[in-house]
Symmetry: C2
Subunit: 235 residues, 2 copies
DNA sequence: CGGACTTTGTGAACGCAGGCACGAGCGGGG
DNA sequence: CCCCGCTCGTGCCTGCGTTCACAAAGTCCG
């Protein structure tokens, strides 16, 4: 119970925030931005839960990791909560990102304005194909992947996106790390490893589709060739 | 990979497979495909774990949900395991997918050959913009979103991909469900809900970047305004 | 000014997932 | 033919995440 001198702006002793909570914070932020737009000043955990698609107790617990920012009997102040969450997520300043691999996907990402708006401007594009180097996408010149060290230093970029073929992914990741990037988002369908202390997240569309396929099949072909069709307790 | 008279081809009473395991199966499949290509006939859980980036006990437990397909002292037969996993995931036949929203992202997805190769051919593209309807991307004509019921029936498509702006996502999802789609992959940054019994997965790039931003900030700004800098036990 | 009502913050219970460790089973070598 | 070494399959334990339920704490209204 330190800080909080009539709503201090200091962080309350930064406790450990569970990974699952961290993953939901951006969803809350987005929801709150929508609410702020429509001039809603206060929100209850129940309503926020509904909008964010989670359980109300979950919302309260998640928010409680950030501090006691709610008012009992009233709810949470939208603007204030937004401020606290943005700060916690590090959204108070821009994070320039570097995209490696300017093919189908890299081009779509580079052209997409949504990242810049949300504080993740595309700072640079790199590719290994000499024919692509020198061209520009969305106003950004494509540079050679060998220049990564310079580019990273130049833009103080800490976040890299890998949109190269799978075979090149680990090499590109290594180069990024060597150049000073310490957070990587990998789109290539390959297992990439980075040194301890770095962050790596992956988005694998083929995996997503295959997961859908699994459940889809279970529905359409309930127990096609199962020997015994006992009423297995399926939640 | 068919026959295999000595070993029954029947599914062993299809037990319940944990969601976390289902999410890893596609990774194993991809790894095994690579091994099959290089003529590796047998693989141990330890090596597979290494290639898939997980723990060896995890691999064994995951595979044990499918049945006892390993041979003690030897390992798993690559081809056979691949066959069993493919069947479990429903990859023995193609799953045509429908992409809604042919903008930056939709176009990249439509042009990407990887899905078709992996059994998820793009069966149709739909958009609400009359200027886009009639044009073709990657050899596939763009049709109007109003035609969804016909399109779904025509292609027996059960999987839909939403690549529209967030504001349209729920509406498109509803239309897809009404048309007979029961598995949806949503790329729009919006909370979409579907009726019970349908599958919905989301890929939200902005959320991914914000998660990276969170950990990145914690690294670069270790305890900027924390009151006490105790040696917090960070795993 | 007091009481009823609302909503937060959190303790406790529960279920899922991950990892260790070890017995069981198989192949290979002597 | 037997024994040894290897690897699977799984029971058990631990930790994380989710949900329930309720006391605490504030607001609002009469
Ligand atoms: N396009 C999609 O919709 C889509 C969907 C799912 C997954 N993916 C994955 O995303 C990745 C990119 O897909 P894509 O369709 O854009 O592929 P692409 O072949 O169109 O583009 C790949 C780009 O990476 C460049 N590249 C190759 N090696 C490189 C290296 N070492 N360093 C830097 N750049 C290098 C190539 O020159 C090319 O420009 C692939 O791994 C793919 O599997 C793409
Ligand atoms: N492009 C990217 O790299 C990227 C990255 C992350 C997230 N996203 C998300 O993916 C979605 C699509 O992004 P984009 O860049 O392709 O957007 P875009 O604006 O380029 O394309 C959207 C398309 O959807 C169509 N559309 C609009 N309403 C529709 C409706 N009701 N039914 C069918 N089609 C409709 C539009 O006509 C347009 O062709 C957005 O939600 C975006 O936030 C895109």
């Amino acid at each position: 119970m330190e800080g909080r001198a009539a709503r201090s702006v200091k962080k309350p002793a930064a406790r450990h925030i569970p990974e699952a909570t961290v993953a939901r914070l951006p969803v809350y932020v987005r929801t709150l931005l929508g609410l702020a737009d429509e001039k809603t000043s206060t929100i209850s955990s129940e309503r926020l839960a509904e909008l964010a698609g989670v359980n109300a107790a979950q919302v309260r617990k998640d928010l409680s990791y950030l501090g006691s920012y709610g008012t009992r009997g009233v709810g949470y102040d939208v603007e204030y909560l937004l401020f606290q969450m943005s700060r916690e997520l590090g959204l108070t300043h821009d994070w320039p990102v570097i995209i490696a691999g300017v093919g189908n996907l890299g081009r779509a990402l580079a052209n997409y304005g949504g990242f810049g708006e949300r504080g993740f401007p595309v700072a640079a594009l790199v590719d290994a194909d000499p024919k692509k180097v020198g061209k520009a996408i969305g106003g950004i010149e494509i540079r050679h992947v060998d220049d990564l060290p310079d580019i990273v230093a130049e833009h103080h970029a800490a976040i890299g996106i890998i949109a190269t073929p799978a075979a090149a992914a680990q090499d590109v990741a290594d180069r990024m790390v060597a150049a000073g990037v310490s957070s990587i988002l990998n789109f290539a369908p390959a297992i990439v490893t980075v040194p301890d202390g770095m962050s790596l997240r992956k988005v694998d569309l083929a995996v997503e589709l295959q997961i859908l396929s699994f459940y889809q099949q279970r529905r359409t072909e309930p127990d096609a060739d199962r020997t015994v069709a006992s009423a297995g307790g399926e939640g």
